[in-house]
């Protein structure tokens, strides 16, 4: 009985620590202009594994007066219409799955990267790969982002806002 209790407590604690990067207790930052576009066969072509992933191109512009910095705990999270939240895979896992497409996944790793800072007044293009199991993700959250290290915030980017980038 004691072992059961200890085991259950430990599992709860470890899952809490693992999901800390994706918990939703942080405030959402405002003053962002965003635009998103879903990449189809014509745009993506042979470069990506479209059976298992759907790529989105997102443009983000920071309208705050100060730059916003990324930390080691930032994650990317997909939000569906139900409100359920799924974290995205890391780029390393994406690379290991698409290893045979060596030229294309290599270019993805070297070109597309989250910028270290979102400077005010600049447009940043981010490419995001949602799993194909998710039917229609409604929004993307970039979690654990700061002005200074004291308070962590999120950035909410809706995906239905289709405009020309």
């Amino acid at each position: 009985m004691k072992k059961l209790i200890i085991f259950s407590v430990l599992t709860i604690l470890t899952t809490g620590i693992a999901l800390k990067a994706f918990a939703n207790d942080r405030p959402v930052l405002g003053n962002f202009e965003t635009a998103s576009k879903k990449l189809d066969l014509q745009d993506a072509g042979k470069n990506y594994d479209l059976k298992n992933y759907t790529p989105y191109l997102i443009a983000v512009m920071n309208r705050n007066p100060a730059p916003i910095m990324i930390t080691a705990n930032t994650g990317i999270v997909f939000v569906s219409s139900d409100g359920t939240v799924t974290p995205s895979e890391s780029r390393r896992q994406f690379y290991l799955k698409n290893k045979k497409l060596l030229k294309n996944s290599n270019s993805m790793m070297s070109e597309y990267n989250l910028p270290l800072r979102f400077e005010p007044g600049k447009v940043y293009n981010i490419q995001v790969f949602a799993p194909a199991e998710l039917a229609n993700p409604v929004a993307v959250n970039i979690t654990n982002v700061t002005f200074d290290k004291k308070r962590m915030c999120d950035i909410n980017i809706p995906l239905n806002n289709v405009e020309e980038l």
Binding site: A21, I70, T74, S110
Partner: protein, 153 residues
């Protein structure tokens, strides 16, 4: 004769699958002498996992380095390949590093890195002796696939 062939095949396969460790060093351009030591293992040709430690502190980082196979011959450094490394540390810092590495064996190279706080780091490659002398007992590279990563994306 069969036993010799077996031995040779086992040893060669183990050497191929183990990969090679490449060691490097970084200096933060500060008033203080902040020195870091790191290692990556090129088991795969184009991608490698990286571990990175700060000397005399608890700070540890890990990440990925990716090499490209297509140097342009008309450039001055056509014998060197560009590589891109991203690192995340346990105190929250994130680094973006641009490397130039020799195309044949990826051993010798140099790089320049930038912090999210706009600090600059100078990276150079070193030998194994210098790495082991400075980071003796903190070096644990074997279970890199099983440990939790500092960089979440």
């Amino acid at each position: 004769m069969k036993k010799i062939f077996l031995l040779f095949s086992i040893i060669s396969i183990s050497m191929i699958t183990s990969g090679c460790n490449h060691y490097f060093k970084a200096e933060k351009i500060n008033g203080n002498n902040d020195i870091y030591y790191g290692v990556f293992n090129t088991r795969d040709k184009n991608q490698a996992d990286v571990k990175f430690y700060k000397k005399n502190s608890i700070i540890a980082c890990d990440g990925i380095i990716v090499f490209s196979n297509y140097p342009v011959i008309t450039d001055k450094n056509y014998k060197r390949i560009p590589g891109k490394m991203t690192l995340g540390c346990n105190d929250g810092t994130v680094m973006d590093v641009n490397w130039l590495v020799r195309r044949t064996d990826h051993t010798t190279g140099y790089g320049k890195g930038v912090d999210q706080y706009n600090n600059i780091y100078n990276f150079t490659s070193i030998g194994k002796y210098e790495f082991v002398k400075n980071i003796k007992n903190d070096y644990k590279f074997k279970d890199i696939d099983k440990t939790e990563k500092y960089l979440k994306y």
